[in-house]
Amino acid sequence: MADASHDMTKTKKSYAAVGIALLVFTVVTVTIGLAPIFDFGPPGPDGMDFVLGLAVATVKASLVALIFMHLNHEKGLIYKILLFTVLFALGLMILTMFADIDPILEQFETLQTTRGWLTEKP
């Protein structure tokens, strides 16, 4: 029992540390969105902000998943389930790319140019 309570103290410490890290990362996320020091691209909101913001969010998410959700020491079955989840989630993202090869939209774009629907070129 003494061993277990010693374990718990360690766990508590790591939970507290992760909690603080998450708060810090939240501040970082807000700064990326608002402050000029994180503005690596051209002035104004740009793709660089987006990449950085998502990177920080991913780090936060992995902290939550690994420590709070105990994924750093979980049974194999759960990893197997998650593997499929990740694959399908990626599939969901990739599905939207079919829009780029949409034959209906292509037709529409051809019409736009040939019939001059887009008279003012942006």
């Binding site: 969105g33 608002l34 909101p45 987006f50 709070f68």
Partner: protein, 487 residues
């Protein structure tokens, strides 16, 4: 009956059953939110520049509420930490501490939902936009109910086959106008109506009458067909009625319920027509921001928006701010190839500017205050909204925007644009998850004592599993916050 493997792990999976169950559930949840995130990416990347409504920048959508969003993130993180500590407390068999942690987690959920509702309320009632005929956009606030169509009605025409006309709810004043039925089925002509309840009972009588007549007519028609009559008279019933008012009555029509209106008539979406005279058709608007992203740079100075605003200093303020930012861009691109990309020239950085139209006698409110520039050039609070400027620079003049200049107007609700649609869908679904998760956790603490005394390990497992869901909800928010509020 004892359910096996609630406390001890199963040998083949190495897990207690609830844990396996919740992970399967979370996998399905990932699919649910994954689809929506995918929709977000699709909508955002699918915006055609210069054609579609541009994707707004989260910070300028939320303004003051970026901080509320950040606070909400912190609240959720705190609650996640609370859940794991509650679990630890159970593992250490400390009921009192478990209770404290669990109740604070639920309190966090309540705070989260309160902040969320403040935000929703503000979007739905305090922020509006008007898109004018040349696609220039004014952001600001439509004064209460001034988007209504004010009309002086004389005649009301509708069908007795449908529902009670929506128009009667738009009548002004306490008293229902005095009506006389002037056209319609013979049996009804001449009837007089002078109150809402009378109207309703008259309407249901009329509807019954028309339905009966229709049945009668159909029977006649079928009979004639069966008898072999050549060219039987088609089924025809008068179902349309016209009520004429003794004296003109006021109508304040909600544009959402109205399909079209002119100087002499309003057509409601449910088919009701009100004839009379248009009284006022102007929308009272307080402008905070002008958005010319959909107007070609060469046509911006002649944009319709300036004739609506009709204020030289405000126009100058816009183009001064734009010029300042243009120089900034020029400076940046001098080191990066020298050419400013077209997307930047057409983008929101240059073409969305804060504009203050000072009320008469409050000149001097114009100048360098420009919150968008502040974001990237100075250390001042970048999310300062219109309200703060108002305090600092006097009240705004209220514009009267003629309706024929308006292409679209509305609050910042889901129909304002694809950004708002996906924002409300995702945050509301996430909100429902917060409520659901909080209820489950509340159950574990309010009704958990009995189970705790019987088998504390079982309760600990329940809390762990509930916690897993809670962390998942937190995880979704970790992504939602930056993509919706900041980037």
């Amino acid at each position: 009956m004892e359910i096996p493997y609630e406390v001890t792990p199963r040998r083949d999976t190495g897990l207690y059953n609830a844990k396996l169950g919740v992970w399967l559930f979370l996998a399905s949840e990932v699919m649910l939110f994954g689809g929506l995130f995918s929709a977000y990416v699709f909508l955002r990347l699918g915006v055609q520049e210069g054609v579609d409504n541009p994707w707004p920048w989260g910070v300028s959508v939320h303004k003051d509420f970026v901080w509320l969003g950040a606070i909400n993130t912190i609240v959720l993180i705190a609650s996640s930490v609370g859940v794991v500590f509650a679990w630890v407390a159970l593992k250490e068999r400390n009921w009192r501490r478990y209770q404290i942690y669990m109740y604070s987690v639920v309190a966090c959920a309540v705070i989260f939902m309160c902040i969320k509702s403040v935000e929703y309320y503000s979007k739905l009632t305090q922020h509006h936009g008007i898109k004018l005929v040349d696609n220039s956009v004014m952001e600001g606030k439509i004064l209460d109910k001034t988007d209504r169509i004010r009309f002086s009605g004389e005649k009301l025409t509708f069908s007795l086959q449908g529902a009670v006309p929506a128009a009667i709810r738009d009548f002004d004043g306490e008293n229902f106008p005095k009506f006389k039925v002037t056209e319609g089925p013979e049996e009804l002509v001449g009837a007089e109506i002078s109150s809402m309840s009378q109207f309703k009972s008259w309407f249901s009588d009329g509807r019954r009458l028309v339905t009966n007549q229709l049945t009668e007519e159909r029977r006649r028609f079928r009979g004639e067909m069966a008898a072999g009559t050549e060219n039987p008279k088609p089924v025809s019933v008068v179902s349309s009625v016209t009520l004429t008012a003794a004296e003109p009555f006021g109508v304040t029509g909600n544009p959402r319920k109205i399909m079209a209106h002119s100087e002499s008539a309003i057509n409601y979406r449910d088919g009701v027509k009100v004839e009379g005279k248009l009284v006022s058709d102007e929308v009272q608007f307080e402008v905070h921001e002008v958005d010319l992203q959909l107007v070609l740079p060469t046509k911006q100075r002649e944009s319709v928006v300036w004739s609506v605003i009709n204020d030289e200093p405000a126009k100058k303020q816009f183009f001064d701010a734009q010029h300042k930012k243009y120089e900034e861009l020029l400076e940046y691109y001098k080191d990066h190839g020298g050419v400013i990309p077209e997307s930047q020239l057409r983008g929101r950085f240059l073409n969305v500017q804060y504009v203050h139209v000072a009320a008469e006698g409050h000149e001097g409110g114009h100048g360098k205050e420009d919150k968008h520039a502040d974001v990237h050039t100075s250390e001042t609070n970048p999310t300062a909204g219109g309200g703060e400027h108002e305090g600092a620079h006097g009240p705004s003049r209220i514009l009267s925007v003629p309706r024929d200049q308006i292409k679209f107007m509305g609050n910042h609700g889901p129909r304002y644009g694809t950004y708002y649609a996906i924002y409300f869908t995702m945050t509301a679904l996430h909100g429902l998850h917060v409520v659901g998760g909080a209820l489950v956790l509340l159950f574990f603490v309010v009704f958990g004592k009995k189970l705790y005394l019987k088998n504390p390990e079982h309760l600990a497992n329940r809390v762990e599993v509930g916690g897993l869901f809670w962390h998942f909800v937190d995880l979704i928010w970790i992504f939602l916050f930056p993509i919706m509020y900041l980037l």
